[in-house]
């Protein structure tokens, strides 16, 4: 087990070519569950392969604890990796599959059998230990891949590359819960690559959001939701994503489509100083309907979708398209929906970055 440190890490597939990974500096704590989240092609698999050693970065260092492992091949790094598709050894039994990494390291057969039985018990594979791995279902096979990662006690981290892609939806949930359980029991560092925000948010303690080879934000699911540090994070996380509207700032108010919206004074001051292109961001679910006698903004409603436990309003404020999540539809008047943007949830962004945010 170890802390993973990415020291000034960057990668270009061809020298002088485009950066697949922009230079980055991160420390991932020992025993943490991290998710790398981003759209396809954002560099998350590249980063994962650098950590596992399948790829050598063109720049910077990877440290496991105090050890520099940048140039070490995967077999000397003590990591486990679970791939998108289950990788099993067809001709072997489930037991032999799980024992394979231990036998390759010439551990005693006594120990191997004890350890394999233990891990199989943890994953619920004890019933099928003697069966041929080839004939099992996809989720059982994926558990075997996972088991091969967990079976070594010296493993520093287990890496997952979209491991639930081929799993049936109702089993995805079970397998994800199994992962959480394993994480709690073994206190391993887990790194999980996915493009599915639900998977990332339910799995991880910390989510690393990536776009175009760049880490935009590392934070708890709550932080990503409440204070996205980049407009992409706001847009990518949440369904629908955050509303963003071009604005100007005057004093402690943002002006959107001629309407004045109160924002945090310190944030407003920092925003006017930044001199960048300003945007006001707010979550659809954090906009609240105004009380009858309260001053508010009038939103022209274009569409109302009933999504069961809530309603999604698509409308516009001036020329800006806007989504609002409402508990009930009664508040919509004939001239539109009157809403309030709560000050604490109205965030300002300069050139796509949160004003006064961490980065």
């Amino acid at each position: 087990m170890a802390r993973i440190e990415l020291n000034n890490l960057a990668h270009q597939y061809a020298p002088g070519g485009e950066y697949a990974l922009q230079p980055m500096q991160h420390v991932w704590e020992d025993g943490g569950a991290y998710a790398l989240l981003g759209p396809s092609g954002c560099g998350k698999t590249t980063l994962l392969n650098i950590i596992s050693g399948l790829l050598t970065p063109s720049q910077g260092q990877v440290l496991f604890g105090d050890q520099d492992v940048t140039r070490l091949p995967p077999e000397q790094r003590n990591i486990g990796q679970v791939f998108q598709f289950p990788v099993i050894y067809d001709t072997m039994s489930v037991f032999d599959n799980l024992a394979f990494p231990l036998r390759n390291r010439r551990l005693s057969e006594d120990y191997v059998s004890r350890r394999v039985t233990q891990i199989a018990g943890m994953l619920g594979l004890d019933e099928v230990l003697k069966r041929r791995a080839k004939n099992l279902t996809a989720d059982a096979k994926q558990k075997i891949s996972l088991g091969r990662g967990l079976v070594r006690e010296d493993v520093a981290a287990v890496l997952f590359d979209e491991p639930l892609t081929v799993i049936d939806p109702h089993l995805k949930w079970q397998l994800r819960r199994k992962l959480r359980e394993v994480h709690e029991q073994l206190n391993l560092t887990l790194v999980y690559v996915t493009h599915d925000q639900t998977e990332a948010l339910t799995f991880a303690d910390k989510v690393v959001v990536m776009l175009a080879g760049q880490v935009l934000q590392v934070g708890t699911p709550q932080a990503l939701f409440e204070r996205p540090e980049h407009t992409f994070v706001g847009y990518f996380i949440g369904s629908p994503g955050m509303n963003f509207m071009d604005c100007q700032v005057e004093g402690s108010e943002a002006i959107v489509a001629g309407e004045r919206i109160a924002v945090d004074p310190a944030m407003a001051a920092a925003a006017s100083e930044s001199g960048g292109q300003l945007q006001l961001g707010i979550r659809p679910g954090l906009i609240r309907p105004a009380a009858a006698d309260e001053a508010g903004l009038m939103i022209q409603v274009d569409q109302v979708e009933d999504l069961g436990d809530y309603e999604l309003i698509t409308g516009h404020l001036g020329e800006h398209k806007i989504h609002v999540r409402l508990e009930e539809s009664e508040k919509i008047g004939s001239d539109g929906l009157k809403v309030v943007f709560p000050t604490e949830h109205s965030l300002l962004y300069a050139d796509d970055r949160l004003v006064g945010g961490g980065a």
């Binding site: 077999e75 791939f83 050894y89 067809d90 990494p101 891949s145």
Partner: protein, 288 residues
């Protein structure tokens, strides 16, 4: 459903039935017909039952040819399958050399079979052939027209040259189909090169190896043109294989009855062997 529709269905498959009848069933029936009759000329023939089959099965010349044939096919499989796998593993996986290697490998397969025989007949000649002269100058007394062992050696090397490419190409296609994740997982699991071959590559190649073994067995068991051109079945009858014996019997001696019986037995042997191979390899998967 209406009966009429079923009759339509029969009509629809009729063209295929006719084609198969003309191309396969009728010629085969002719052979069956010959195999149970003694034919002296048009309108002059006698039914002889299983007489020809008994004669063929008792013929010591054919026993010899069958034994040589089995040894030859076994040698072909024992040499070409492992060699094909090994060479496929050495092939480049990507880059410009892939096409170069593929073209070079395909070349022997494109040469007409009797031309292969001619090439090697000249190439291996101890007086003017490049290979023959080279072997003799190394101090070996090599002459494939005089020495049965030299003749066998030459026929086998020629067949390896001609056909190993097929095994390589099949295995190469099989290897290319293995996803990278398997190799990556094996590296992470600390597997040796041998373990990667034994537990990933070989199991994944099983399907193409089944095809390679079947094709190589069938082709080698039917081999005719190359040894016929190279050695003419000699010296003596040391490289006379089944198809050459058959041709001699049918075309040379015009013994149509025994030749027909022999053809059927020959056909059944190939069918039986192929079926046994097929079952064996399929069952390898099921155990455990």
């Amino acid at each position: 459903m209406d009966k009429r529709e079923y009759q339509w269905a029969w009509l629809m498959v009729l063209p295929v039935v006719l084609i198969v009848a003309f191309s396969a069933i009728m010629p085969l029936m002719t052979v069956v017909n010959y195999s149970v009759q003694d034919i002296f000329g048009p309108g002059s023939r006698f039914f002889v039952g299983t007489e020809w089959f008994k004669e063929v099965l008792r013929d010591p010349a054919l026993h010899g040819a069958l034994i040589r044939q089995i040894i030859f096919s076994a040698a072909v499989l024992v040499i070409q399958i492992p060699l094909g796998i090994a060479l496929a593993l050495c092939m480049p996986k990507k880059g410009p050399w892939v096409s170069v290697a593929l073209v070079l490998l395909a070349l022997p397969l494109l040469v007409p079979w009797n031309v292969v025989g001619t090439i090697w007949q000249v190439f291996a000649r101890p007086d003017v052939g490049l290979a023959g002269v080279a072997i003799n100058s190394l101090g070996f007394d090599y002459n494939y027209t005089g020495d049965p062992i030299d003749a066998w050696f030459t026929v086998l090397v020629m067949d390896v040259w001609h056909w190993t490419s097929l095994v390589i190409l099949l295995c190469y296609a099989g290897l290319q189909a293995i996803p990278d994740a398997f190799y990556q997982a094996a590296r992470i699991d600390g597997a040796s090169r041998w373990a990667v071959f034994r537990y990933i590559e070989l199991p994944k190649l099983k399907g193409v190896l089944l095809i390679a073994i079947l094709l190589r067995f069938i082709f080698s068991f039917r081999i005719y043109a190359e040894p016929f051109v190279l050695t003419g079945g000699g010296p003596g009858n040391s490289t006379t294989f089944l198809s050459q014996s058959l041709t001699t019997m049918a075309v040379g001696q015009f013994d149509l009855g025994p030749a027909a019986a022999f053809s059927l037995i020959y056909f059944l042997i190939i069918l039986l062997f192929s079926y046994v191979f097929y079952l064996t390899i399929l069952n390898m998967d099921r155990e455990g």
